[in-house]
Amino acid sequence: MDGSLLRPRWRKVLRDLWLHKARTFLVVLAIAIGIAGAGSVLDTWALLRRVTRDEFSGTNPASATIRTDAIDSALLAAVRAHPAVGEVAARRTVVGAVQARGSWRTAMLFATNDLSAVTIGKVQTEAGTWPPADGAIAIEKSSVDFAGVALGQSVTLQIGEAEPRALEVVGIARDAGLAPGWMEHIVYAFVTPATLAMLGAPSDLNQLQFTVRDRSLEWEAVRRIAYEVKALVERTGRRVADVDVPEPGAHIHAGQINSLLLAKGAFGLLALLLSGFLVVNLISAMLTGQVREIGVMKALGARSGQLAAMYLALALLLGFVACLVALPVAALVGRAYAGFIAEILNFDTTGFSIPTWAFALQVAVGLLLPVAAASIPVIRGCRIPVSEALRDFGIAGQDHESDTGWLSRLGGVTRPLLLSLRNAFRKRQRMALTLITLAMGGAVYLGSLNLRTSIQRSVSYLFGDILRYDISIRLTRPMAPDSIERAIQGVAGVGAVEGWSSTRTAVSHADSTLGNAFPLVGQPAGSKLVAFPLVEGRWLTEGSRRDIVVSDRMLKEEPQLRLGSAVTLIVSGRPTIWTIVGVARTGVQPGAYTTRAALAEALGNGSVALVTVRAADRDPSSHGALSRRIRGELEAKGVEIASSQLMEESRSVLEDHLLTVAQTLTVMSQLMILVGGLGLASTMSLAVLERTREIGVMRAIGARHGAIHTMVQAEGLVIALASWLVALPLSVPMSVLVGKAFGRVMLPVPTHIVPGGGGVLQWLLVVVGVSVVASAWPAIRATRVPVARALSYE
């Protein structure tokens, strides 16, 4: 380090940093961890915001979709003429079954006249050719793995009762407006109307999509336009089945992502705050070692301002170096995490860059954080009167030491332990910072363990207590419930079987507008295979006619509804009046439940397409075989199965997915504990540094290495155990917070707020481990204090 161009004071700053490499490294590491933690969340958020805005809006999503029949160019032209309507398109979606690698899955086929010129809900070609020719198929990218198909393979498709046909997969395309197929368990695919006709499905276009001219309109305004268009469609003599108006500009999962990142962002900020604490500690330590030099420099004529500038510049430099490390790490992690979320959202982040402002913000915080953290100790250190600085050793001075006399009044404490205890409490403020840092990390750690338990329990609850069936079978052709139930009941190993009917419906509002479509499910009155927890009201009974139980989500979407209110639902195009007799928690999607008989009456048709089966043997490993037996039996009877699903599989998919989210929280807490450990290490080395003379005296009067080692380690342990203890009550509000955030994002889990015994023990092991490692180097340093030097230390 030559720097002959630098003033001596700056040379001093640089050489001091170099001299205390370990400490410098710790400070840089602390800042870098904070910046990387918060920065990665910021980068994720900024990147996703950019992608969602650009890519999702780039697909030109439909403002509304109206289901009607026989859409022709005359109708399109009429709708396009509406002053508020921008673009108009028509398509058909057909639900069928697709067979790939032997198993059947639900397929949703999108068809439109000219797939090469899709204007609304634009589709991107990922691989292969686009558009698919007549007789070929293109699969949506997020369904590819789920369907188990590859480009060039052939898949068997069957629509309704028509003859199954094999189609070649010629392309893979991406529709960013769809929730991922693997998540929805649907194979999305694109075909031409001619292909639909080949498959025996109606090929006329029945979905009218349009965009509003003014993209900034509120949901309500878009809905109003949609109903004007609906009226327009009806004037042409067509019937409108339903009107779907999604929230403008919002991707299906956008809200979830925002709150997910909000929670992560909160922890990122916490990590930043904690690393700020650590920087305060370390800079205090630096200044403690420099008090005498500060005094000397003042005696040589240095003003407090000049000295403060030196040390703040030093902090700035540390922040700068930390940024050099942290920014790329944050960008890497942020990009990876954004990629993970984008996959859930069915987006692609490639080709998008993290916005510059995100980097600028991180640099600003990275530079300011250490300066802000350093400012208090620096100002305090530089204000020390010269006389005191030259006489004294230690910034916090005697007057800041706390009364620890109470400790000696504690009974049953041995003398060396008493010394460690007393030492730990000597510098109250520094100890508090270290303790809080560790305890916060511990609280989040316990919170994440609680969340894990909550997730596991609520998934068990969902798949054990609420959904009591083990296998669900979707029939290609709806059947009379009695005959299908009888057929399945006869299979060995079947405990219970229920056929459920279902239709899509929508609430008819007083102003003759329709709400968004949702499923209305008909179940046997005393269903034994499902038991949703009731929020209020009662469940369906045998005699209930036109009674429904609605999901609590439903009440959020249709705020005018409440328990006891009469509601008009459009079922098969006809208005029917129902009474809400109960509100139940059924998950994140809106839905309603009635008896099979009531739905049969409303539909004028009692057949069921979904059959749920509960196995007699509760061991999930036997359910696969049972499912195969049932399929065999049904096939033998000529009953066609569209798809079947083992609940055990759904359960593990859901659990894995949710636990991934909990896992990121655990990693966050480990990061915080790491920061806490660094804090403890710095606190302990500071303590050793300040007590050089004391340790020298102890060694002079015969204390052996082991004793001094033990004393330092015990002092670290005192702080660690205190944080362990503090973290326990602190984890309660943390768990509530985490559970709430998670509930809003994923699915409402019953929050376990009290830390479990296993978690408490784990946290103890972690914190003791951290303490032993953090105190190791300071303890070694303490044993290396030479007796003579310690005593002559001025």
Binding site: R7, P8, R9, R11, K12, R15, D16, L19, R292, E293, V296, M297, K298, A299, L300, G301, A302, R303, S304, G305, Q306, P385, V386, S387, L390, E794
Partner: protein, 226 residues
């Protein structure tokens, strides 16, 4: 030329309040030191010598009385101005040398010039080298303090104290950590500086220093007794 003394203390008292009540370290001290003097302060341990020097250096403030150094009322200077004044008007030599350990000898000497902007940046290093030359340690210029002997360190410290051409050089037991032969050479050095016109106030326990002194101040229990 100037009839008024360089340093003048009138009715200066300094007391410290501590756990054991108020302790008076200096009581009603009045004295003057003229320009060009080699003033030696002696007295028993605890008699207030360091306290006196601290007041002259503006490191501490008197409880009562006035401290004038080179016409400046030191006891009235606000904190900021005090530092600046101290950097230019006095040079301090400590018993434990107090060289900054991470700066080389010459950098230590340049440091006061840096803080006080007393010399143009380009002239600082040549001036520091000249001072080291004058004190006979020019060959140690680029070494770190820890590699120098006690005597060499103290010479570098004196060069540093002289960096801003102070009106007065204050030294508190500058030889307290040195052997007698080295101490002697330091005293000779001070005497040479005084010959060249430098005013020096030195606290010492060494009897031998008295023969270099042009003025002696003896303290006992915080009072001037001779």
């Amino acid at each position: 030329m100037n009839p008024s003394p360089l340093i003048s203390l009138s009715h200066v008292s300094k007391s410290f309040s501590g756990a054991g009540g108020v302790f008076t370290a200096l009581a009603d001290v009045s004295l003057t030191i003229d320009r060009g003097q080699f003033a030696v302060v002696v007295g028993q341990s605890g008699s207030g010598k360091s306290t006196l020097l601290g007041l002259l250096a503006g490191i501490d403030r008197p409880s009562e009385g006035e401290v004038l150094v080179g016409g400046t009322a030191v006891h009235q200077l606000p904190e900021r101005a005090m530092s600046a004044w101290r950097g230019r008007a006095v040079g301090i030599v400590f018993q434990f040398f107090q060289l900054l350990p991470t700066l080389t000898a010459v950098e230590n000497v340049m440091l006061p010039m840096d803080f006080c902007d007393a010399w143009p940046a380009a002239e600082r290093r040549p001036r520091a080298m000249a001072l080291l030359e004058r004190l006979g340690v020019a060959d140690q210029a680029v070494k770190l303090p820890s590699t120098l002997s006690g005597g060499q360190q103290q010479r570098v410290a004196i060069a540093r104290a002289l960096a801003n051409q102070p009106a007065v050089l204050l030294a508190d037991e500058p030889t307290g950590n040195l052997d007698s032969r080295t101490s002697e050479s330091i005293f000779e050095l001070f005497a040479k500086l005084v010959e060249e016109g430098q005013t020096v106030v030195m606290v010492t326990h060494e009897r031998g220093a008295m023969r270099y002194a042009s003025q002696s101040i003896t303290l006992a229990d915080g009072r001037v007794v001779a």
